[in-house]
Amino acid sequence: MMRLIAMAACAALAVPAFAVGMGPLEKEGLTDGPAKGFYLTVVNPFEDVETFRLYPAVIGGEDPVPDVRIHPERFRLAAGRQRRVLVVAQNLEPGETRVFRVCAEKNEQEGMIHARVCSKLTASRIAGQ
């Protein structure tokens, strides 16, 4: 009887592994204008094509960050391939330093572990411009 209950209550069965990789994990940049761009590299070490999504978030939280554009935000990546993604911090005020993170994960998460990789980005605009 207990075995039947155990079988019925069996949770997430093992699912095929997927993977997500991204770097660099930290990057800083200085600009004299209102926008600063960063390139990040997303890697699909999985053995199948996958769709990934990237999104900005505040440091230490999940709230979105305004004035950050990601090109592209969502894309398919062949097995074993990598691609660069452009992240642009916009509307920087003179003297402003904006610290945020950009996270990459599989578009549709499944299984017990939702894996993601986040890069910490620091965009600074010099004062007096």
Binding site: A11, L25, V43, M112, C118
Partner: protein, 150 residues
């Protein structure tokens, strides 16, 4: 010394000179950036014989989840969100614990973080306790693991 020998000697000398003149240093460069790759594999929970605990630790078919970490550059930090249970049971206590070569955490229902090695395999166990038992249905414990720089 005959003419043939002289000609041969001069040719050999020229060859030696030519060889040393073409010596070159070959350099192969490599740049390592700070990158992290996570590869998770889900586990399986099984209800114990008392019917009040569902776990990856014991029982036929029970298996922990694993998380492969491959990083370059600086050793990254793994951040785990508080585990969330989905399923018919209500009022259950949901916890996870994990062990790796450098990341270790006992059972907790809260979020946690730990430094990891550049190459690591983290084993993640889940435990759900419900004094009222587990109604039939599908259950899942999920946690979001973030690889980043602290």
């Amino acid at each position: 010394m005959n003419k043939t020998w002289v000609r041969y000697s001069l040719g050999l000398s020229a060859l030696v000179v030519a060889s040393s003149a073409q010596a070159a240093t070959v350099t192969i460069n490599g740049v390592v950036i700070n990158l992290c790759t996570l590869t998770p594999v889900s586990g399986t929970m099984v209800v114990d014989t008392a019917g009040t605990t569902m776990t990856t630790e014991s029982g036929t078919g029970a298996a922990p989840a694993t998380l492969s970490v491959v990083a370059t550059g600086a050793a990254p930090t793994l951040t785990f969100t508080a585990p969330v249970l989905s399923g018919p049971a209500s009022g259950a206590t949901t916890e996870i614990r994990y062990t790796g070569s450098s990341a270790n955490q006992g059972y907790t229902s809260a979020g946690s973080s730990a430094s990891t090695s550049l190459i690591d395999l983290v084993t993640i166990h889940a435990r759900v306790q419900s004094s009222t038992g587990f109604p039939s249905g599908s259950y899942a414990v999920t946690t979001t693991v973030t690889c980043g720089q602290s």
